[in-house]
C-alpha cells in the first residue's frame, strides 16, 4: 500500500519531504509533519496493538494526547523506549516501532484467549484470581502476568541520551496555545509581562488548526500563525512547542517536559533529548482545551472506532482519510463538522444523531451538502474483529431505553462524538475545587487554591467568541497587576457557526440477548460490566471503584473515560454525578521519561564527588578509592597483586612499627571565633572547655538534646578567642547547622561566629613510633620534642616556607601528629612528608588501615556513634561533666540510660583466633536457642588486629561492663555463620594509652 488514504489539497504536512519508516518490521512511507499514527493511517494500517487485559485488537482512538491505547515500543538511534503514543510521536526518517502487549505478534496474539475467557477476568480479577495458593505467585502468576500484560518493555541498557533541567521564572505561564492561550498570551505580552506559552503539539493553534472559523478577516489558523509569529519576536515572551506541562505543584511551581529531539532521527550534538522545566509562575493560565467524549456502545474498542475530532484532525492536519465509508455517531453538532469535512473531500458519510430534531447552522450546512442524516439513531455495536466492517444500528426511543429493529450498515470507520470534556487535570492538581457544570455534563474548575485561572474550552466555554473575549481580558488583567501597563487591545470579530444543545446521552443500551463488551476505559480495558460488578460487590466511593476496576488509572488518567464512568456510577447508584465526585487527578498528566526526571544527575553526577588536594598523588600511587560520604578516599594503596586485606594489613603494621601518613583532609573543620567561643564549646561538648589553654587541643563529645552522641572530635585553641574544631567526615554539615542553631536561636547573646573551613585546610595524619623523628626533619626550626610539643599540644610551624598547623593528636593510638596547610599547598605538604619520610620507611595508609588501628585501640567512630548510643555505651562517660550543664545532659537521667545492665562497648575475639566476625552479627548466649533468639548485642566493627595477628571486633553489648571474659556466639544469618567468641576489653592494644604520650 502506498499511502492510499492520503488525499490531495488537505493537511499541513510537508509533501516535499517523504520519509520512510518501519512498523512491525514492514516499511512504509509518510511525510514530514506526520505523526506515526497519521502515517500508518495514510497507509491504511489500523491495527496497532493489543489491549491490556483482554488482548483485543487495538487501533487509533484519538489524534494526540487523548489517545488511550495506540502505544508503541519505539526504536530510535539504537535505543528503545516503551509507552510512546503513536498519535504523539512525530515521524522521522528511519523511525521504527513495534506493537506492544502482543505475543507472538499483533495479528496472532496468544493473550487474546483472555478475550474469550473473559468471564474469568472481570473487575478485581487480579485481586481475586491470583491470591492463592501463595506459592503459585512467583512461579506461575507473576511470570504469566508479566508476559501477558504491560505497555511495553523498558530498556535495560545505559541510556546514552542526555537530559537537562532548567529553572525558569515568569509572570504568566500559559498552558496550551489554542484560541484562549494565544489571546491571553498576546494581551499579557503587550502589557510587558514575562510570558511562557507552552504547547504540547509540534504545531501551535490548538482547535484553530481544524475548526472552520474566522477571526478578524482571516481563517482561525492564519490568525493563530500571525499571533505566534508576533509573540516570537517579543523579548519578554518564550513560546515552546512540543512542551507538555504535566504537573502543577505547590506555590505555583509547574513542571514541563520539552521534547527537544524526539522528532529527529538522532539527537543533535550538544542538544538534550528532553528538557525538564521547573517553572515558578506568578500567575498560571490554563488553556488546555477539551477532549471529545466517546459514546459507549458494543465493541466500541474495535479498530476503526475513533473520536470524530480525531478523524477531523487526521483529515485537516495530515490529509488522511481514516475511512472511505465513514459512519458518524454523535449526540451533538461536532459530529456534523467531521461529516462536513468528509463530504468536502468527496467521501459520503452517514450521520447517526441520537437527538430527535436538532436544528442549527452546522446541521443546516450538512443538510445542504446532501449528507445522509438519521435522527434518533444509535450505533448498537461495531462489527469486525481487527477492523470495523459494519455497524449494527437501531433507532432509539426518546427516553433512550428502547432500541428499534437492528439493522446492519456497512462502514469502515465509526467516528463518535459524545460532546466535550474540559481538560481540568492541571487545575485539579493545583488544588482547585472543581464543580460540576450541568449544561455540559462535565466538571469545570471552581474555587482556586493557587494563582491560576482556567480559560476557554478547559473552563467549559465552547464558543470561540466568548473564549477570545474572556482570554484577552484575563491576559490583560493579570499582566496589568504585575507590570502596571495597560495597553488596550481590540478584540477581533469572530465568525463561527452556532451549534445546538447536545443530547444528555452517553451509553447505548444492550439489545436483548446480546452481551457486547461496552468499554469505558480503553487503556485499562474497563467495561460497563466491570463497574456494575464493582458496585454490586459493595464498592461505593469512586476512589475505591477506580482502584478495584482500574478505571481512569495509569498513563491515561481517565482522559476519555472519566465522565462516562461517573455517569454510569451515578446512574446505578441513583445519585447525581457531582455527588459521586471525580477521582483525584495526579501528575503526570502524560507519561514523562524517567531520564527527563533524573536529568543530568546520573552515574558520577548523581551526587557531587569531593576530592582532597592530594587526590592525584593517591591516583598515581595505586590508591584504591572508597566513597566516604561524598568524598573519595584512598582505601588502601595497592602494591603488586595485593588485595584489600593484605594491603591494609601491611599499611597498619607499618604504622605500628615505623610511620605512616594518612590523608585526613575530609575531616570536618569549623573555625570558631569570638569572645564567647569557650562558653559555646562548654555548652555543646559534654566535657569542660573553659580552662583549655591557648596552644592546646582537647577531645570532645557532643550530644543531641535527647542524650544520644551526635559527634566527636578534637578542638584546638589557636589563640585567645579563636578555636579550630574538627568533626567526623560524615557529620561535618550537621555539626555546623547544630552550632548555628544554638547561636542564632537559643543563645543569640553569645558573641561567636562559626564558619566551615573543611575545604580550606589539607590534612595529613602522621602516625607511628618514628613520627616524631620525621616531624623534626619536616620542621627543623621547631621544637617538637615531647616537652616542646606534648600530647594534645598545638603549634604553628614552617614547612619549607609554607605556614603549617601542627596538632599532636592521635586516632591510631600511636604517637601521632596531624599537619594542616592551606589546601593549595596540600600536595606540596604530602610530597614533602613522603620525601622526608623515606628514611623512616614511611608508607601512606588508607581508610581500611585507619579503621584497623582505631578498632584495636577501642576508639569509637561512626559505627559505634550510630545515633543510638549515649556516652556510657561508648565508654566515654569520663568525658561527661557532672559540674556544668550542656546540650543533652538532662536526657542522660532517663531511666533506660542509667539502667544497671545498660549496653556498653566491648572487644570480641573469636575463640579459634581465625574466623573474622562479620559486622552486624548478633551476639547471643545460646546459638541453638529457638527463634527469635534473644539478642544481647551486635558487632559494630571488625578488623584483623595487626598487633596480635588475629581477628578483633568491637561490639555494643547489653551489660557489657560485666560481660568481660564471657563466652558467647556471634551469629550472622546473612553470612550463615555462627562463631564462638570471647568478650574482652574494647582497649585491645595499649589499654593505658602510653604510646600516644611517649
Amino acid at each position: 500500500m502506498n499511502q492510499a488514504f492520503r488525499i490531495e489539497n488537505s493537511g499541513l504536512i510537508n509533501r516535499d519531504k517523504k520519509l520512510s519508516f518501519k512498523f512491525n518490521g514492514k516499511t512504509y512511507f509518510g511525510y514530514e509533519g506526520d505523526t506515526l499514527a497519521s502515517a500508518l493511517l495514510a497507509n491504511g494500517v489500523h491495527l496497532v496493538g493489543r489491549s491490556f487485559k483482554y488482548h483485543r485488537p487495538r487501533g487509533f482512538f484519538g489524534a494526540g494526547v487523548d489517545e488511550p491505547y495506540a502505544v508503541v515500543q519505539l526504536y530510535r538511534n539504537g535505543e528503545t523506549e516503551p509507552n510512546i503514543k503513536a498519535t504523539e510521536q512525530e515521524l522521522f526518517e528511519g523511525l521504527e516501532a513495534k506493537s506492544v502487549n502482543c505475543w507472538p505478534s499483533v495479528n496472532f496474539d496468544i493473550g487474546a484467549i483472555n478475550n474469550f475467557l473473559r468471564i474469568f477476568l472481570p473487575a478485581g480479577f487480579y485481586y481475586k484470581t491470583f491470591m492463592w495458593p501463595k506459592s503459585f505467585w512467583y512461579r506461575i502468576y507473576e511470570p504469566f502476568i508479566r508476559k501477558a500484560a504491560g505497555l511495553g518493555v523498558a530498556s535495560i541498557k545505559h541510556d546514552k541520551e542526555r537530559y537537562e533541567h532548567k529553572y525558569e521564572y515568569c509572570d504568566l505561564l500559559i498552558a496550551g496555545s489554542g484560541p484562549s492561550g494565544l489571546a491571553s498570551a498576546y494581551a499579557a505580552a503587550k502589557n510587558g509581562a514575562k510570558v511562557i506559552l507552552a504547547e504540547d503539539k509540534p504545531r501551535f493553534g490548538g482547535s484553530l488548526l481544524t475548526s472552520d472559523v474566522n477571526i478578524g478577516n482571516q481563517s482561525g489558523k492564519d490568525w493563530a500563525e500571525g499571533i505566534i509569529a508576533e509573540l516570537k519576536t517579543m523579548p519578554n515572551v518564550v513560546v515552546k512547542n512540543r512542551s507538555q506541562i504535566f504537573g502543577y505543584y505547590d506555590h505555583n511551581m509547574l513542571v514541563m517536559s520539552e521534547k527537544v529531539s524526539d522528532h529527529l532521527p538522532t539527537t543533535r550534538k550538544y542538544h538534550p533529548n528532553k528538557r525538564l522545566w521547573y517553572i515558578r509562575a506568578k500567575e498560571v493560565l490554563i488553556s488546555s482545551g477539551s477532549i471529545e467524549r466517546p459514546i459507549v456502545f458494543g465493541n466500541n474498542d474495535t479498530p476503526g472506532v475513533m473520536l470524530s475530532s480525531a478523524a477531523k484532525e487526521y483529515l485537516k492536519v495530515y490529509g488522511v482519510l481514516v475511512g472511505r465509508k465513514p459512519l458518524v455517531f454523535t449526540n451533538n453538532d461536532s459530529g456534523y463538522e467531521t461529516a462536513i469535512e468528509f463530504k468536502k473531500h468527496g467521501v459520503d458519510p452517514v450521520v447517526l444523531d441520537s437527538r430527535k430534531n436538532p436544528e442549527s447552522e452546522i446541521i443546516d450546512e450538512a443538510k445542504n451538502l446532501g449528507i445522509n442524516i438519521k435522527n434518533s439513531y444509535v450505533v448498537v455495536a461495531a462489527q469486525g474483529y481487527k477492523k470495523v466492517k459494519s455497524a449494527d444500528i437501531a433507532s432509539i426511543s426518546e427516553d433512550k431505553k428502547q432500541l428499534g429493529k437492528i439493522e446492519n450498515i456497512e462502514c469502515d470507520c465509526i467516528c463518535v462524538s459524545g460532546f466535550w470534556t474540559p481538560t481540568i487535570h492541571l487545575a485539579s492538581q493545583s488544588g482547585n475545587k472543581t464543580k460540576f457544570k450541568e449544561e455540559i455534563d462535565a466538571f469545570v474548575p471552581g474555587q482556586s487554591k493557587q494563582n491560576e485561572i482556567t480559560l476557554g474550552a478547559a473552563n467549559g466555554v465552547f464558543t470561540l467568541e466568548e473564549t477570545l473575549k474572556t482570554s484577552f481580558e484575563a491576559g490583560s488583567e493579570l499582566s496589568k497587576k504585575i507590570t502596571e501597563n495597560d495597553n488596550e487591545i481590540a478584540i477581533p470579530n469572530v465568525v463561527e457557526k452556532k451549534s445546538s444543545q447536545h443530547d444528555k446521552f452517553w451509553c447505548v443500551p444492550l439489545p436483548k440477548g446480546k452481551n457486547y463488551k461496552r468499554f469505558l476505559d480503553f487503556q485499562n480495558d474497563v467495561a460497563v460490566s466491570d463497574i456494575e460488578i464493582a458496585l454490586r460487590e459493595g464498592y461505593r466511593s469512586i476512589e475505591h471503584v477506580k482502584r478495584y476496576t482500574t478505571l481512569g488509572m495509569a498513563t491515561d488518567q481517565g482522559k476519555t473515560s472519566n465522565l462516562n464512568g461517573l455517569q454510569l456510577v451515578s446512574e446505578i447508584e441513583n445519585k447525581v454525578v457531582p455527588a459521586v465526585g471525580h477521582t483525584t487527578f495526579r501528575p503526570p498528566y502524560t507519561p514523562v521519561s524517567i531520564g527527563a526526571i533524573v536529568g543530568r544527575e546520573v552515574g558520577k553526577h548523581s551526587k557531587p564527588t569531593r576530592k582532597s588536594p592530594m587526590h592525584s598523588w593517591h591516583e598515581k600511587n595505586n590508591a584504591v578509592f572508597v566513597d566516604a560520604g561524598v568524598w573519595l578516599r584512598p582505601r588502601y594503596y595497592k602494591r603488586g597483586n595485593e588485595n584489600l586485606f593484605e594491603g591494609s594489613k601491611r599499611e597498619a603494621k607499618n604504622v605500628r612499627t615505623n610511620v605512616g601518613v594518612c590523608d585526613v583532609t575530609t575531616l570536618g573543620k569549623i573555625d570558631i571565633k569570638g569572645p564567647d567561643a569557650a562558653e559555646l564549646l562548654n555548652r555543646v561538648y559534654t566535657n569542660a572547655w573553659l580552662k583549655l589553654p591557648v596552644g592546646k587541643a582537647r577531645y570532645g563529645v557532643m550530644l543531641r538534646e535527647d542524650g544520644i552522641v551526635m559527634d566527636d572530635g578534637t578542638t584546638t585553641r589557636i589563640s585567645e578567642n579563636h578555636y579550630h574544631m574538627t568533626t567526623t567526615t560524615a557529620q561535618a554539615a550537621n555539626v555546623l547547622s547544630h552550632l548555628e542553631y544554638y547561636l542564632q536561636l537559643v543563645w543569640p547573646e553569645l558573641n561567636v561566629n562559626v564558619v566551615s573551613t573543611t575545604e580550606q585546610w589539607a590534612g595529613a595524619a602522621i602516625a607511628g613510633p618514628k613520627s616524631r623523628d620525621l616531624l623534626q626533619k619536616l620542621f627543623p626550626n621547631s621544637d617538637v620534642s615531647n616537652e616542646g610539643l606534648p600530647f594534645m599540644g598545638y603549634m604553628e610551624g614552617d614547612l619549607s616556607g609554607v605556614k603549617a598547623r601542627i596538632f599532636r593528636i592521635s586516632f591510631s593510638g600511636e604517637l601521632a601528629y596531624e599537619v594542616n596547610v592551606e589546601s593549595d599547598y596540600g600536595n606540596f605538604m604530602w610530597e614533602k612528608i613522603m620525601e622526608v619520610g623515606e628514611e623512616f620507611n614511611i608508607q601512606p595508609y588508607g581508610t581500611e588501615a585507619l579503621s584497623t588501628l582505631r578498632i584495636e585501640m577501642g576508639h569509637v567512630a561512626g559505627s559505634e556513634l550510630d545515633g543510638r548510643t549515649i556516652p556510657f555505651d561508648n565508654a566515654l562517660e569520663g568525658l561527661v561533666s557532672k559540674k556544668k550543664d550542656f546540650i543533652g545532659k538532662r536526657s542522660l537521667q532517663r531511666s533506660a540510660f542509667i539502667a544497671e545492665d545498660r549496653q556498653r562497648i566491648v572487644g570480641v575475639v573469636p575463640l579459634d583466633k581465625q574466623t573474622s566476625i562479620p559486622e552486624g552479627s548478633h551476639l547471643v548466649k545460646d546459638d541453638k536457642a529457638p527463634l527469635p533468639n534473644p539478642k544481647l548485642g551486635h558487632i559494630s566493627a571488625s578488623c584483623w588486629s595487626v598487633e596480635y595477628d588475629n581477628p578483633f571486633s568491637l561490639a555494643i553489648l547489653k551489660d557489657g561492663k560485666n560481660m568481660i571474659g564471657q563466652k558467647l556466639f556471634a551469629m550472622s544469618p546473612l553470612k550463615n555463620k555462627v562463631i564462638p567468641v570471647e568478650i574482652v576489653s574494647s582497649h585491645y592494644v595499649d589499654p593505658k594509652g602510653e604510646r600516644v604520650r611517649s
Binding site: E705, D885, R890
Partner: protein
Amino acid sequence: MLYINCPHCGMRSQNEFSYGGDASVKRPELNKEVSDQEWDNFVYNRKSLRGKHLELWQHISGCRQWIKVERDTATHEIFRTFKADEEVA
C-alpha cells in the same frame, strides 16, 4: 516545591532550605532544674498541628540563617516569615 521568603535573601525555592521543626518550642534554660515532664515536652512532645504552624527552616544553601516560617501544614500556604530574633506577633 514551596517558595519561601527568606527574610535575608528574598523568595527562594524549598530545595535551598532544610526543615527544623516547631519554632514555638523553647529550650529550658541551662542549669535550671527541669521536671521529667517539662524535659520530655521540650525534647519529644510535638503537637503536629493541622493548620497554621510556626516552624523553623534553615536557609542552608543560602545565607545559612535559621528563620521562622508561618505555614499551613494542610495547604502549605505560607503567611509570613521572620528572622531568628524577630518577635512573632
